[in-house]
Amino acid sequence: MALLEIENLSVTFATSGGEFRAVDEVSLVCDRGEILSIVGESGSGKSVSMLALMGLLPWTATVTADTMRFDGRDILSMSDRQRREIIGRDIAMIFQEPMSSLNPCFTVGFQIGETLRVHLGMGRAERRERSIELLKLVGIPAPEKRLSQFPHQLSGGMSQRVMIAMALACNPKLLIADEPTTALDVTIQAQILDLLIGLQKKNDMGLILITHDMGVVAETAERVQVQYAGQKVEEQRVRELFDDPHHPYTQALLSALPERATRHGRLPSIPGVVPGQGDRPAGCLFSPRCRFATDLCRQTVERQGPEFGYALCNYPLKEGVPTGHPGVPELESAR
């Protein structure tokens, strides 16, 4: 049994403009010692699906799932109190904006120590010792000095290291990193990613890495699932996904990578945006932006089998060619 199993997770927000389904029947599995990457543009429901797992969504959200099991325990049937015992101890999460994710009014030492006290009941001296150890682990120099500092005295990269130290305080079995490097300088991004991967290996954790950057996926993940407008559109191992993407959206994301874009001479972005509340089309949600879209796509869409990476597409790609597409020759000429 895998560490985390989620089946058909849906999240619906009650908004002033009616119901909005931010996550639509997403399934995922992540085991110990494994890195799963969730990739997709902003607004794809990546954060919301993980916040649903953590129980951190506002009350306007309705969360449903067929299965949500962590370490063999059913999360859906847990009371809030039971879930709080797991959250922060066995499942930890770090966020996109490290600077604003730390509380400006408390010292680094207090914020790390708090987790140790609440979950492990450590005393003062023990907490201090463990906090220093954690800061060393995440590569912060002069950790004793950092303990008494406030977040505004830290740089973005340093703040994210502190966040990671805090998340690792109780040796979690699963770490969720929600775009951990997006807000950081390019030079720092690689360092933080390396740190995360190193710690994941060392602690034999499961790591769910959320990103909108295929470049990050290439360097870190073992398995990827691509999410679009709240739906999982494809799922493959990294190598296979890069070699042979089955969903047109994945293909578009890959060709938006800087190194590939220059090779094909295409613009490094997909025209259009992820449809939000109110502008979701019928049928395939990607159809307004898909170059293979047909009338059928605008009415309905079908989930493929494992041979196509469970692609949510009527004409899954095979080596770049849409299988069963009626107008392939015309597309060939468009290339």
Partner: protein, 334 residues
């Protein structure tokens, strides 16, 4: 922090001078003459009037009078009351504890209820509880103090007969003031029932005086909390598996308090202004009532000195609030 503090202290000096000029001018701009008022119904001969004018120095040009007055203050001499003939400073310190006691009780009530009410309203945003609290706060905020005080007296003292109408303690009790705070002195006196009597005298004035600050603090706390509750660090706190009580009461409130402390500081000025009315309604022998009485008697020295002392008090409290603000906001502390 030290530089910031010294700067603020230095700023007190021009403010102090400004207030002394305003206080000096204010009482002289009012029509009426202190000596004629002193004479009362009987009136006074022209010679005697001239004589008294000379005695009090009112016959000199205003500028000379002002500098004479300012020179006295620099030496710690605030002059003496034309009515009681006692030094202004002495009268001030006799009456001051009564005002402090009332104001302290009011601010404790306002903070003690205002902050929890604001937090509750923010956490239960949009609920009937939120609407009730905010409705009450709006009512309290726009409550005319005088009318509100009379209403409470009519109901609690008149109809129900629960609380006394005026003063600080029942005439049955007498003891020499030790601290000047009736709650403490009545306990120290050891007289049975004295403390209870002091409390019952204090309740209504405290409620009346606390009403506006309470409403302001509750509203400010609510809006500060609403803002803070959406912050990333609150989500982080929840992601650590902390109980909601700790997330709201520690992580969120600690940040929300930063603007609230400033508001509380500003309320001290409002409070002292309110104390003048409240003391008048409840015949509370504090500096507010003293000021009002003195204005009616055109007791120049008392009004000048009293206003200056009250203004200094407000300035010092604001300074303390700024220091406190620096202490609770790590981004200012150095």
């Amino acid at each position: 922090m030290l530089r910031f503090f010294l700067y603020r202290v230095a700023l007190l000096i021009p403010t102090f001078i400004g207030v002394s000029i305003v206080a000096f001018a204010f009482i002289r701009l009012l029509p009426g003459d202190p000596i004629m008022l002193l004479a009362g119904e009987r009136g006074m001969s022209a010679e005697r009037y001239q004589e008294l004018q000379a005695v009090y120095g009112f016959d000199r040009p205003y500028l000379v009078q002002y500098f004479d007055y300012a020179w006295g203050i620099l030496q710690g001499d605030f002059g003496q009351s034309i009515v009681t003939k006692r030094p202004v400073l002495e009268e001030f310190f006799t009456l001051f504890p009564a005002t402090i006691e009332l104001s302290l009780c009011a601010i404790i009530l306002a903070v003690g209820i205002g902050i929890p009410a604001g937090v509750l309203a923010a956490v239960k945003r949009g609920s009937w509880l939120d609407q009730t609290i905010m409705g009450a706060a709006l009512t309290g905020y726009s409550m005319p103090i005088f009318w509100w005080g009379l209403l409470l007296i009519i109901f609690f003292s008149g109809t129900l007969g629960w609380t006394p109408v005026s003063g600080r303690i029942s005439l049955l009790y007498y003891f020499e003031p030790v601290t000047g705070f009736m709650l403490i002195d009545s306990l120290l006196s050891g007289q049975a029932g004295a403390f209870k009597s002091a409390v019952s005298h204090l309740i209504l004035p405290t409620v009346v005086l606390a009403t506006i600050p309470l409403a302001v603090i509750a509203r400010q706390t609510r809006s500060a909390m609403l803002e803070v509750l959406g912050e990333d660090y609150v989500r982080t706190a929840r992601s650590k598996g902390l109980a909601p009580r700790r997330v709201i009461g520690l992580h969120a409130l600690r940040n929300a308090l930063i603007p609230v402390v400033t508001t509380i500081g500003l309320q001290v000025g409002v409070l002292l202004a309110g104390a003048i009315l409240t003391e008048t309604i409840f015949s509370w022998p504090g500096i507010g009532k003293w000021m009002v009485d003195s204005v009616f008697k055109r007791d120049y020295a008392v009004v000048q000195g009293g206003l200056l002392l009250i203004a200094s008090l407000i300035m010092i409290v604001n300074l303390l609030v700024d220091v406190l603000y620096g202490l609770i906001n790590p981004r200012i502390r150095k």
